[in-house]
Structure formats: C-alpha cells, structure tokens
C-alpha cells in the first residue's frame, strides 16, 4: 500500500511517463434535504464543495453523481444541468455523490512542468553553496522522492510518508528506463515512453516492492 505513482520528466520538463498504482478512491454518497447545508460553487466547469465539510465530504471535492446518475462537468449524463437540480426545491430529497477530483492527463503534464522551476528555484535559494534541487518533498499525506540523473531526466515517486528505501527504487527505475526505453530503437528521446517491456517490468517491480519491500530488489 506504499506507492501511489511514478512520474518521469524529461530534461526539458515534459512528462514522458506516468503510472498510477493503487490510488485510493475517495467517494461519499449522501441524501440531502432542502436547503443544502454545504456550499457548492462552479469552478473550472465542475461543481465543487467550497464550504461546510462533514461526514467525509471535504472542501475541494467535486460532484460525481446526482441520484445515481453520473455528472460530467456541469451536466448530468441525461443532459440536465446539475446546478439547476440542486437549486430547485422540488427535486429534494436528493442523493449526491462527492469525491476527490481525479487528475486528468493534462493536469499531470501541467504539474510535471510546474515541478521543473520549483526544483530550480530550490537550488537557487539555497543558503549553502552547491545545493541540488528538491530531493524529497514532504506533506502530511504523501512524500515525493525525486532523483535527477546526470543527463537531466527526473524520476519521481509519490509514496506514503512512512515508505522507506525510495532512493533504491528510483535507481532501479532508472535502470529499467535505460534498459527498456533507451535501448528500444523505436523510442526517440524526450518523447513519451510507450514501450511495453518497460511498462511490464516497472509494474512487476512495483508489485515486488509492495509485497516484499525494497531490500530484495
């Protein structure tokens, strides 16, 4: 249950590989009566909770379903407007399902290129000479480990804060990258990695780490 995702960022800051593994799905469904006791707003074409978190519904969660019908952006699957239903007194009691928003591929690319300047500024603002960029970024829910190769490629692993031995794992992923991506004649540098062998080997490496820990790889 330790590793949430692997990212590989090219020298120029583009995301060239991403793999999500066992990201927990956070969803809560509840029946509400009129008026709603949570505040919803429309943000980036999504219905987002902006105030009043309770019972697992947190600020920042998006509306996923209304009465069991999926919501795509602002509209229900059958074409009705989600906010209209929520604002209409007659549609209550209403069953709403909220969840933590899932990152889209575009958002991942955006985040990968956002990490690039952070990495550089961390080294520039260093109080000590010759500092590297960010190696570990810590938050209360995860720890991001980053390893930059001499050629400028960045390998990142998002893992649980308690997970250890991530530096060994990163080196191992680098090894897989050089074996299965770089030696693949159909792979061009700086382009997204679409190599089946790399995918399979990385997958089995992660499975092995989940099962037996990092010491045995």
């Amino acid at each position: 249950m330790g590793i949430y995702g692997v990212y590989i960022v090219s020298k120029s800051g583009g995301l060239i590989f991403n793999l999500d593994s066992n990201v927990p799905k956070i969803e809560t469904e509840q029946t509400f009566s009129y008026p709603l006791d949570i505040k919803l707003v429309v943000e980036n074409k999504k219905v987002v909770v902006s105030f009043g978190q309770r019972d697992g519904i947190m600020v920042g969660h998006v509306l996923n379903a209304v009465n069991g019908v999926q919501v795509n952006g602002l509209q229900l699957e059958d074409g009705r407007d989600a906010m209209e239903i929520i604002d209409n007194k007659d549609s209550y009691p209403l069953s709403l399902k909220f969840g933590k928003p899932k990152m889209t591929t575009n958002e991942k690319i955006f985040l990968a290129s956002m990490f690039y300047p952070l990495f550089a500024i961390a080294s520039q603002l260093s109080p000590e000479p010759k500092s590297s960029g960010i190696e570990i970024l810590e938050s209360d829910t995860f720890k991001l480990h980053c390893f930059q190769t001499l050629t400028g490629v960045k390998f990142m692993v998002v893992a649980e804060p308690s997970q250890t031995g991530m530096d060994i794992l990163l080196k191992k992923i680098y090894e897989l990258y050089s074996d299965y991506a770089l030696k693949n004649p159909f792979y061009s540098l700086e382009m997204p990695i679409r190599c089946e062998l790399f995918d399979n080997n990385l997958q089995s490496l992660l499975e092995q780490v989940e099962k037996t820990g990092v010491t045995n790889i």
């Binding site: 949430y4 995702g5 990201v23 927990p24 956070i26 947190m58 920042g60 933590k100 990152m103 958002e107 985040l111 956002m114 990490f115 300047p117 952070l118 500024i121 961390a122 080294s123 520039q124 603002l125 260093s126 109080p127 000590e128 000479p129 010759k130 500092s131 590297s132 960029g133 960010i134 190696e135 570990i136 970024l137 810590e138 938050s139 209360d140 829910t141 995860f142 991001l144 998002v158």
Partner: protein, 147 residues
C-alpha cells in the same frame, strides 16, 4: 551549522521579517526580489501539493529537502508563514516553528500595540527575543560546539 535563515511572510505575501545566522551562499539578487521568489515558490508548491496528493490534505506542505538543506514550512490558519532553512539532519523543526509563533511572534509582535501587523517588523525587542529563542534550540548549540 544547522540553522541558516528565517523568513516570515503575511498572508498577502509581504515579507515581514528576515534574518540569517549561518548563510554561506547568497542568491545574488536583492532581498526584496529573493522574498518574492521565495513566496512565489511556496505558493506554487502549495497548489502542487494540493493537486498531486492522493488523499485529502490537512496540513499540506511540510518541508522539502535537497542534498544540502531542508526548508521547513509552517503556516498558521491566519495565513502567516514561517520558513526556516536548516541542516538536513535537524529534527522537530515544526515544533520549534510552532513555539516560535506562540512564544515570540504572539508575545512580542501581536501584543505590541505600536506594531502594524501588515508591515515589516522593526521591533528591536522582537529581534532580540527571536535570536535568543533560536539559540536555545539544542541543535544550534551542539553543532557550534563541535566546530
């Protein structure tokens, strides 16, 4: 030398206070520009962390480490931000920042009626107390002795 420097920002990104103890490298830009760069970086890290986190965050960003230093981040619910750069090995810096907030900032800035809370702190008393406070910090002394 474990404790390098300290930045305090308010919630609008104004640099309220800056001080340094053992800083070996300067960024080559003025303090004003450096503060803006620092605040911008932290602002980006905060939104980065909020987006990339697989679970719901509570405290959010805590610290980052490079091979030479650790940047420790502490934010109060009012948006006041304390940034302390220390050695990589320094322990329990978050508790220290929390205490610095409650025992030094609250006591000598908030409780001082002539200080405007949104302007850089010029109080000599605060400066003194902060300095003594940091120097009490065990690691600060231990490493100086061992030099």
């Amino acid at each position: 030398m474990p404790v390098h420097n300290l930045y305090i920002f308010n919630r609008y990104g104004t640099l309220l206070y800056y001080t340094e103890w053992n800083r070996l490298k300067h960024s080559g830009i003025t303090l004003e520009e450096e503060a803006k760069l620092m605040y911008g970086m932290l602002f980006s890290i905060k939104s980065f962390v909020a987006k990339i986190s697989p679970l719901d965050i509570k405290k959010g960003f805590l610290c980052y480490k490079t091979n030479k230093y650790t940047l420790n981040y502490f934010e109060t619910p009012t948006g006041l931000k304390f940034i302390l750069n220390t050695d990589v090995g320094a322990q329990n810096v978050r508790d220290l920042l929390q205490q610095m907030y409650s025992q030094v900032y609250i006591e000598y800035v908030v409780k001082n009626p002539i200080i405007n809370l949104n302007e850089p702190i010029k109080s000599e008393l605060f400066k003194q107390k902060l300095d003594t406070f940091i120097k009490q910090y065990p690691v600060f002394n231990n490493n100086l002795k061992s030099l």
